[in-house]
């Protein structure tokens, strides 16, 4: 595989990651979101592996494997089981005005592109142009969390945000040092564990996973 081809594949993967982000932004069904999230993880893993291959950095394979294991299999599975157990699979989420959300998402992409422009100039890596996509994915992840109204979907948004981070790590720098990567993965695993517990707590405390029930703690008017 030549460097040029790798760049092209990588760009396509970046585009796909961005696309899945947008998909997550507008998807109403939970299972649909879960599937999209798994796809995003797969693209991320693939991209990491390709970068590792072209740059000859073998620790990136470990990253890719971790991503694959965590983001494509473990997390979606955990979420699937939770959704199944908590009997919320059929819930359809009402979203705030989808076209507006999309427009904001696009604006965020443009903004990310604009922001990373000077950095792109500095970088010599083949993956440099994908930094904008990474940043956009992070921001769209945040946007997903803002627009969602259920605890589970908010978590999916959060995980999408982290995908963006991973993508940034590989695309901007060919991956962080291994210790860090492992630590981050561990943290995400713990986080997944914790939100799993949380869903049960929320469920038992509020009889639903709607965020609107959790708006009691505020300053009195």
């Amino acid at each position: 595989m030549t460097a040029g081809l790798a760049v092209q594949i990588n760009s396509v993967l970046a585009a796909l990651i961005l696309l899945t982000s947008f998909g997550l932004l507008v998807q109403r069904r939970i299972y649909g979101m879960l599937r999209l999230f798994a796809w995003q993880g797969a693209f991320l893993s693939l991209s990491t592996a390709i970068v590792g291959y072209t740059a000859g950095l073998h620790h990136l394979y470990i990253s890719a494997a971790l991503t694959l294991a965590l983001k494509v299999f473990a997390l979606p599975y955990i979420l699937y089981v939770l959704i199944h157990r908590l009997e919320i699979k059929r819930d359809v989420e009402e979203l705030v005005n989808i076209p507006t959300t999309m427009l904001i998402g696009i604006a965020l992409v443009i903004f990310s592109y604009y922001l990373t422009a000077p950095i792109r100039e500095l970088s010599t890596l083949i993956t440099r142009s994908t930094l904008a996509v990474a940043l956009a994915t992070v921001m769209i992840g945040l946007l997903i969390m803002i627009t969602r109204r259920k605890a589970v979907t908010q978590i999916i948004g959060f995980l999408a945000l982290e995908n963006g981070l991973f993508f940034a790590a590989t695309s901007a720098t060919y991956g962080m040092p291994l210790v860090v990567e492992l630590g981050v993965a561990l943290d995400i695993l713990i986080a997944a564990f914790i939100f799993g517990i949380f869903f049960y707590h929320i469920r038992t405390s509020f009889d639903s996973l709607e965020l609107k029930d959790m708006e009691k703690l505020k300053e009195d008017e």
Partner: protein, 482 residues
């Protein structure tokens, strides 16, 4: 070696307590673990004091003037908190608010949390710092919802999500930092080491670093509790068990600020300007003002003091942003005395709310007559926290205010406004609580005297006299941060 021992104690204690945490003697084990950590930290500090900075553990750990005093502080406050938590948590258990599993979980997580904080302080690696910060968050998230009440679950959820997002953004900042550093220092862990980064900060790429700083600012800033990223903080402090509020307020915020300040020095070195400082000043001032005004409307005693923490973190952030040796010295001192004072306040608040069976300010009355130690402890603690001498917070605020007048006089009125409002608000709420007659629903109980008295004496002494070693460290830290 010492560092590894120091960190190992906590991990060991956490592991042990995970097994025996519900036993009658578990609180004592908890105290023992924390005390051992404190002793180790004192040895570490002595080592640093006599032999200077050190780097160890294959360059994964380092100790300099900046983190050594915070490490000792962290170990100390966690020890006193452990002492305080013994009667407090027992009382909670007797009241039936907590079961055995919860106690086990509490004790183990307490130690893990301390471990995470010490790790964050002592690590030389920006990435590991990030991991430790995340660990600190994750270990306390479930402590906040320990009581399983709907509001505590809600608070914990908000804490988890907001800090999770925040810390994720900090990771993005770390990635950017690595991106810039890798060009100068080459690939691998070396490029994420504070010691190396500080040495080459002048040659790092300024645009990348200023971008990275924004992410650090929003990320760690969330953890520091800066307005408008602070919204998790009052909820989490108010709903968790009081010992956890004490360490969250007294220690975790400090650690986050520590991380932020470390990043700021790098960015300053790279950009040769004070852009980062200005951002921090803005955040600090806004935090100070908003929290001061919010303080006026509080009805829950722990919530009120958590706003006070936001206020003080705002002050410290502002002072670090201001720069200059006087302000930085003030900010460093502020972190120290604020920790001591705020945790002492939370100790008394914990007892006070147990005595009245509520956290509502309007129901807590007549503390001085009911229990002089709790009453006077709260009164003097508040006197200290609102910046009255001869307590240490006055010293730091004195330095920060005078430095403001020197470097940014136009901000002085706002700063003063914030301080004055916070002063008025806290005083107004606290006076009816401590003074007056004892209400009939108040019931006295066993309280732990030592932590409150110890903290207040330290705060008092620090207001009048800084020991030589401390002033050396603070001066050293000031030099580091310049």
């Amino acid at each position: 070696m010492l560092i590894l021992v120091l960190l190992g104690i906590n991990l060991l204690a956490a592991a042990v307590l995970a097994v025996i945490g519900e036993k009658r003697y578990a609180p004592e084990v908890n105290i023992l673990g924390s005390a051992a950590t404190f002793v180790a930290s004192v040895f570490l500090a002595a080592d640093v004091y006599y032999n200077g900075r050190m780097i160890s553990g294959r360059e994964y750990f380092f100790v300099d003037e900046f983190n050594v005093y915070l490490a000792v502080l962290t170990a100390f406050v966690s020890m006193t908190t452990a002492v305080f938590s013994r009667p407090y948590m027992r009382h909670e258990q007797e009241r039936g608010r907590l079961g055995k599993v919860a106690m086990r979980f509490y004790h183990a997580m307490f130690q893990l949390f301390i471990f995470a904080m010490l790790m964050a302080l002592l690590t030389n690696n920006v990435g590991i710092l990030w991991i430790s910060m995340e660990l600190a968050t994750l270990s306390t998230v479930l402590l906040v919802s320990l009581y399983r009440t709907p509001s505590s679950v809600e608070a914990a959820w908000k804490y988890f999500i907001l800090c999770g997002v925040g810390i994720a953004l900090a990771l993005f900042g770390t990635v950017l930092l690595y991106f810039a550093a890798e060009k100068v220092l080459g690939e691998g862990s070396k490029a994420l080491q504070w010691t190396n980064l500080a040495a080459v900060s002048g040659s790092l790429e300024p645009t990348v670093l200023s971008l990275a700083f924004v992410f650090f600012m929003v990320g760690y800033g969330t953890k520091v509790g800066l307005v408008p990223l602070h919204n998790w903080l009052p909820d989490a402090h108010a709903e968790g068990p009081t010992p956890i509020s004490a360490v969250l307020s007294g220690l975790l915020l400090n650690i986050a600020l520590y991380a932020l300040v470390r990043c700021k020095t790098l960015v300053d070195g790279a950009t040769h300007g004070n852009r980062a400082g200005q951002i921090m000043m803005a955040f600090g001032l806004v935090s100070l003002l908003v929290s001061a005004f919010s303080l006026l409307r509080q009805k829950d005693i722990k919530r009120m003091f958590s706003y006070s923490s936001i206020e003080h973190m705002g002050i410290a952030t502002y002072a670090f942003g201001l720069g200059g040796s006087v302000a930085t010295f003030g900010a460093l001192l502020h972190m120290l005395v604020h920790s001591l004072t705020k945790s002492a306040i939370f100790f008394t608040v914990g007892h006070a709310s147990q005595m009245h069976g509520t956290q509502e300010i309007s129901r807590i009355r007549g503390l001085i007559k009911g229990n002089p130690l709790v009453g006077w402890g709260l009164m003097l603690g508040v006197a200290a926290i609102i910046g009255l001498p001869p307590f240490g917070l006055f010293t730091s605020e004195f330095l920060i205010l005078t430095a403001t007048m020197k470097s940014a006089p136009l901000l002085a009125p706002f700063f003063l406004l914030g301080l004055a409002i916070a002063f008025a608000a806290l005083l107004r709420k606290v006076m009816p609580m401590v003074f007056g007659a004892v209400p009939d629903y108040q019931h006295n109980q066993r309280v732990s005297h030592t932590p409150v008295i110890l903290h207040m004496i330290l705060v008092l002494v620090l207001g009048l006299y800084l020991p030589v070693f401390l002033s050396q460290w603070l001066h050293g830290a000031v030099r580091l941060l310049r």
